[in-house]
């Protein structure tokens, strides 16, 4: 018998055999906006100091709903050297990448110029955060790969940023958010899709963002829990718009990833789209195939927050419809609704499907060996 005292910070992930994984949703954080100043011109630094950034969301700063944990992040993820959760590469390595055997981590920076009304500031911040990702993260940690952040409401500026990063192996996807000024299939966003297809990068559409619209289709809700479950609803309207505006017909090589919005709704949305399309097809003749076919051909899904039905056969039936080859494992580190890698899949999954789920699908989609 022995009694040992260990400080909490020394503990990593649970012991046991840990499969090598891809984590397709990691959020690197800034200690403050000033972390981006080395990558911003003096003009925009002074603009931020004087005026700040104005989001489409009215009359307030920060997220529209208060979060359940500080900075929407795990309370055990504060770096020992100070700063908010997710702002230290060395602590991310120690707490997450090393113990969870993350061999590929996809960075998705949030609140970095997306959804700002000042389009020139939005574009400048997007460029800055892309430079920051390379300088502070991917160049120091080869397991991490960056997302091209774009001024999402300015299609031509966004397309220019995408083309500027073409061929740079630090970047493996374009990042969009689900809440925008208009549904994502609208023509103002087409230059983004055209550029992404041209440079051969998939587009990750992450839940959240600032579009100035109520965050549910029936208005502003009372509770944060309604925002949390509302992400899947918002993502459904974005995906329906992409299909029905003909984005996948127009850009047939485009690949998109639905990030952090669930996947259990994929079959029911597709069934409904197909059924109504059979009756209203003449309204949208540019949608020449059943909507479900576009979804099956063009859409991948990150897993976190993992669907967690009472009966595992319901989960397996849903995944059978989607395809085990279309799921990308993600943790959402350091956010509070983090999924622990070895606890998300119930028993009964074949070794081949497990390998695809945790790593193989991501490597194939992102073209990594």
């Amino acid at each position: 018998m022995n009694v040992q005292f260990r400080p909490a910070a020394e503990r990593g992930a649970p012991a046991g055999a840990v499969t090598a994984i891809a984590d397709c949703d990691i959020h690197p954080a800034r200690r403050s906006m000033r972390d981006l100043y080395p990558y911003l011109s003096k003009r925009w630094q002074e603009h931020l100091e004087t005026y700040g950034g104005h989001a489409y969301q009215g009359m307030m700063e920060g997220p529209p709903y208060p979060k359940a944990q500080p900075n929407a992040s795990r309370r055990d993820a504060y770096p020992p050297e100070g700063g908010v959760q997710g702002s230290s590469l060395s602590f991310m390595q120690k707490q997450h990448l090393d113990p969870n055997n993350v061999v590929l981590g996809v960075l998705n920076p949030l609140n970095t110029g997306q959804g700002l009304r000042n389009q020139d500031l939005s574009a400048a911040l997007a460029t800055a955060v892309n430079d920051w990702q390379v300088a502070e993260w991917t160049s120091k940690e080869p397991r991490l790969k960056a997302s091209i952040v774009v001024a999402n409401e300015d299609g031509s500026a966004a397309a220019a940023e995408i083309r500027k990063r073409a061929g740079d192996p630090n970047f493996i996807q374009v990042l969009l958010l689900s809440r925008n000024v208009e549904p994502l299939g609208q023509r103002r966003y087409w230059p983004i899709y055209e550029a992404a297809q041209e440079v051969g990068l998939p587009i990750g559409v992450h839940a959240f963002g600032f579009g100035g619209n109520p965050i549910t289709a029936s208005g502003w809700p009372s509770y944060y829990i309604e925002e949390m479950v509302g992400h899947s609803q918002c993502q459904q309207t974005a995906l329906a718009s992409l299909v029905l505006e003909g984005v996948f017909a127009r850009f047939p090589k485009l690949k998109m990833i639905m990030v952090e919005a669930g996947f259990g709704w994929a079959p029911s949305l597709s069934w409904r789209l197909d059924r109504v399309w059979q009756r209203l097809r003449s309204e949208v003749p540019h949608v020449s195939r059943p909507p479900s076919e576009y979804i099956k051909d063009h859409i991948w899904w990150t897993t976190q927050p993992m669907e967690d039905p009472e009966r595992r056969d319901h989960l397996f039936q849903t995944i059978d419809w989607i395809g085990w080859d279309k799921l990308l494992f993600a943790t959402d580190y350091p956010h509070w609704d983090f999924d622990e890698p070895m606890r998300v899949l119930p028993a009964g999954v074949s070794d081949a499907d497990r390998a695809a789920f945790y790593l193989g699908n991501a490597k194939k989609l992102y073209g990594l060996t």
């Binding site: 018998m1 009694v3 309370r75």
Partner: protein
């Protein structure tokens, strides 16, 4: 069941908690208003270090429109997903049918009796003059 001396009472004043590994199990011991509680520091949901979360009260509603906030400081809220557990019993308030965190009895023993044993305190120096927190494991 072994009895482990985990702290001198003076080193664990009200409002504090102490983390340790006992028999290869991560444990936290809390002093809540002079009462001591031991909990396994591993959330049964996804394995987070549960006891690093905040101690909150229990918000309940027996009828719509009425909210009672009781048990102040006796509910531990997981630092990851916010799952709530009763520090007295380990009961989950989110999914009591499937989940429970292991609770360990903790109490104070006088140094005079601790010195006699049978207790395990390999890393603590025990003296007759002090009182100690003892956890049954």
């Amino acid at each position: 069941m072994a009895r482990h001396v985990v702290a001198a009472v003076d080193d664990l004043p009200p409002g504090t908690r102490k983390f340790m590994t006992v028999d290869e199990r991560p444990i936290a011991v809390f002093n809540i208003n002079g009462e001591f509680f031991g909990l396994l520091n591993r959330c049964p949901h996804q394995g987070a270090a549960l006891c690093e979360g905040p101690l909150i009260g229990l918000a309940q509603s027996s009828t719509p429109g009425e909210i009672e906030y009781t048990r102040l400081g006796e509910i531990i809220r997981c630092p990851w997903h916010g799952w709530e557990f009763d520090v007295r019993t380990g009961q989950s308030y989110c999914d009591p049918r499937r989940f429970r965190v292991k609770a360990y009895a903790a109490h104070v023993e006088a140094g005079a009796s601790v010195v006699k044993g049978p207790y395990v305190a390999e890393t603590l120096k025990v003296s007759v003059e002090n009182d100690y927190v003892v956890v049954d494991l």
